[in-house]
């Protein structure tokens, strides 16, 4: 299982890796990330309510959020003083560091609620989440991994996108995707994504990230 997961991850990251990692220094990113552990967890796996896990997260997504925090486009009183002094180089290194950490596939405590999961799956299909976040919901490039993220954080993120209090990469993709979600929709899709667990098949995902069929 673990081997398959590694193959899958390698396939997902191989394209952006050539571009984004050209100048990245993972060790420097790790040094810079010491301050992050207090909230985001020792290995990038958060145990704090409302705070996202960052382990294995898409490199470009991490970079974009740091840029948004730094410019004030994503206002956050806790992040603002920390990111204020980050250089472009720091941003690249932090992205590479968190991306290098093993992805958390340990399902959150408590069993998945079958009814909520089914509704959440429908919401995910209706709102075309996998068009950007891919079939396994582990993202690609600037589209973040959202599978096995903290449920309370997914609720917060979707609520913030819906109220346009945080910017969306790709112009307005998330603003638009979240605009029509009810509170119940958000609760359901967050539960579904947070309890996905390790990917069960790799075939479908490999197909979507491989070269286009001619």
């Amino acid at each position: 299982m673990k081997f398959l997961r590694m193959v899958l991850l390698a396939a997902i990251v191989s394209l952006p890796a050539q571009r984004a990692h050209a100048a990245a220094d993972v060790a420097a990113g790790q040094e810079k990330a010491k301050v992050c552990a207090a909230c985001h967890g020792e290995n990038g796996v958060s145990s704090m309510p409302g705070i996202p896990s960052l382990a294995g997260q898409q490199d470009q997504f991490i970079q974009w959020q740091l840029v948004f925090f730094r410019s004030g486009q994503r206002p956050n009183p806790a992040m603002a003083p920390i990111v204020g002094e980050l250089s472009d180089e720091d941003v690249v290194n932090l992205g590479a560091y968190f991306h290098s950490l093993p992805y958390n596939t340990k399902v959150a405590d408590g069993a998945a609620n079958a009814e909520l999961t089914a509704k959440g799956k429908t919401v995910a299909v209706d709102h075309r989440c996998s068009s950007c976040h891919k079939d396994d919901f582990r993202g690609e490039r600037a589209a973040p991994a959202i599978a096995d993220q903290r449920e309370d954080y997914l609720v917060k993120a979707l609520t913030d996108y819906r109220s346009v209090t945080r910017p969306s990469v790709g112009v307005a993709a998330m603003t638009e995707a979240a605009a029509g979600l009810s509170d119940d929709d958000i609760a359901a899709v967050a539960h579904y994504l947070a309890t996905l667990g390790p990917p069960k098949t790799v075939g479908a995902s490999l197909k979507t990230v491989g070269p286009a069929k001619k």
Partner: protein, 420 residues
């Protein structure tokens, strides 16, 4: 993929649309999407399917790629530019790096290069002191300030739904004055709401208004190009039936306005073609959403219209090449046959299995729009099937006749020059 059925309330909001559609056959009312734009909330949250349209299973995952969060470093750019192919005698070099999401460019009278941006909220000023260039962020916090222009010492910037004027801009780079709102009769959405500004000799500015979705019946205030008097704010509609236009220029031979237009997505990899258009009569209709590339009736939105009703493009540039900024070449540095040619910055594909565009195209055409031919001028920004190291988005001629190219993916400006 099933078509979403309209809620009854939305259908009722546009009864004339369906009354007009049905007698002509074609798609039935249940197949058509329409949008109730009568409330401000529509503009705050455009339809969720504006770009994720009726994709087939084979098209799944063809979402717009997001570029790097951080501008590409000068060292990497120097390396990348070695891969750009140009005709003999031309060369490309790095003009400036560290210009996040650089979009439309405009010159100040004293040689300051002003540059807008996409989502970075910034306007930049690039100054040149003896070959040493400095990039300075002079305005922050604007909503999609892609379109800029300079006239009579003032810098004009689009703040998505406001045209702003910053007086005495070049002398105020350290502290820009508070802007004056010149014109604000515009919808506030971001999707296809980003704009491009072209001023004419009479002090009017051309402004495009794109629809906030891929394809649909456009709300009344969009899918058009307006012409606004910078002094009085008077606005006129000069073109209708225009999808997403983010580039244009005035032909130095005729004074006519020409513009690039991005065609609808999700039809297929190879159709419809993006367009180069020429306005010869006020209020001309270029066909969107009824007809694409001059000869493809929309499968749903033709609604009884024939392509022959609309002004055809001068040139079909190719599907998903994404033509953005364009300029007529009026310099004397390039060989004589380049005089009055059109250079077009093609941003490149997202809704195609194998990207194309991502290059500079050259169009040779007479002032009447006849005898057009096109060829690739500069190419090489696409890597692999679906990736970029840069995406050209605007072109500006320098005083020495060289061309500057802005790149919002790499956050850089390039210079193309010619020497025998």
């Amino acid at each position: 993929m099933t078509t979403r059925v309209l809620r009854a309330g939305l259908v009722a909001a546009l009864p004339l649309l369906f009354a007009a559609a049905l007698p002509f056959g074609g798609a039935s009312a249940a197949d058509l999407k329409s949008y109730d734009s009568s409330k401000p909330s529509f503009w705050a949250h455009p339809p969720p399917d504006w770009f994720l349209g009726d994709e087939t299973e084979a098209q799944k995952g063809l979402a717009p790629p997001v570029g790097p969060a951080i501008p590409t470093t000068a060292a990497e750019l120097q390396d990348n530019l070695k891969k750009i192919k140009l005709p003999p005698g031309f060369k490309i070099e790095l003009y400036a790096s560290g210009v996040p999401q650089a979009r439309q460019m405009a010159w100040g009278a004293n040689g300051t290069l002003f540059v807008g941006s996409f989502q970075a909220t910034n306007v930049y000023a690039i100054t040149d002191q003896g070959g040493k260039r400095t990039v300075k962020t002079i305005i922050k916090g604007l909503n999609m300030p892609t379109g800029i222009a300079v006239r009579d010492g003032a810098l004009y910037v689009i703040d998505v739904n406001k045209l702003l004027r910053y007086d005495n801009a070049e002398a105020s780079l350290d502290k820009m004055p508070d802007p004056v709102v010149v014109y604000d009769d515009m919808p506030s959405y971001a999707a296809h709401g980003w704009k491009y500004l072209v001023t004419d000799k009479n002090g009017w500015v051309y402004i495009p208004f794109g629809p906030p979705f891929n394809v649909g019946i456009p709300p009344t205030s969009v899918s058009q190009i307006r012409h606004v008097d910078l002094k009085s704010g008077l606005a006129e509609i000069v073109a209708l039936g225009v999808r997403n236009s983010v580039g244009g220029d005035i032909d130095p031979r005729s004074g006519d306005y020409w513009f690039t237009e991005n065609a609808r997505d999700w039809l297929s990899d190879d159709t419809p073609s993006d367009k180069l258009n020429h306005i010869t009569r006020m209020g001309e209709d270029f066909g969107y959403p009824h007809c694409h590339q001059g000869n493809i009736p929309d499968p749903k939105f033709a609604m009884g219209h024939k392509c022959s009703e609309f002004t055809p493009p001068v040139v079909n540039l190719g599907a998903h090449v994404a033509p953005l900024g364009m300029k007529f070449y009026t310099g004397s540095q390039f060989p004589a046959e380049y005089k009055n040619n059109i250079f077009i910055a093609e941003h490149g594909s997202w809704n195609r299995h194998k990207y194309q565009g991502g290059r500079i195209e050259r169009v040779v055409v007479d002032a009447e729009g006849k005898h057009a031919k096109q060829e690739v001028f500069a190419t090489g920004w696409i890597t692999g099937d679906r990736d970029y190291f840069g995406r050209p988005d605007d072109i500006l001629q320098a005083s020495d006749g060289s061309l500057l190219i802005s790149d919002d993916w790499a956050g850089a400006i390039y210079r193309i020059s010619y020497a025998k």
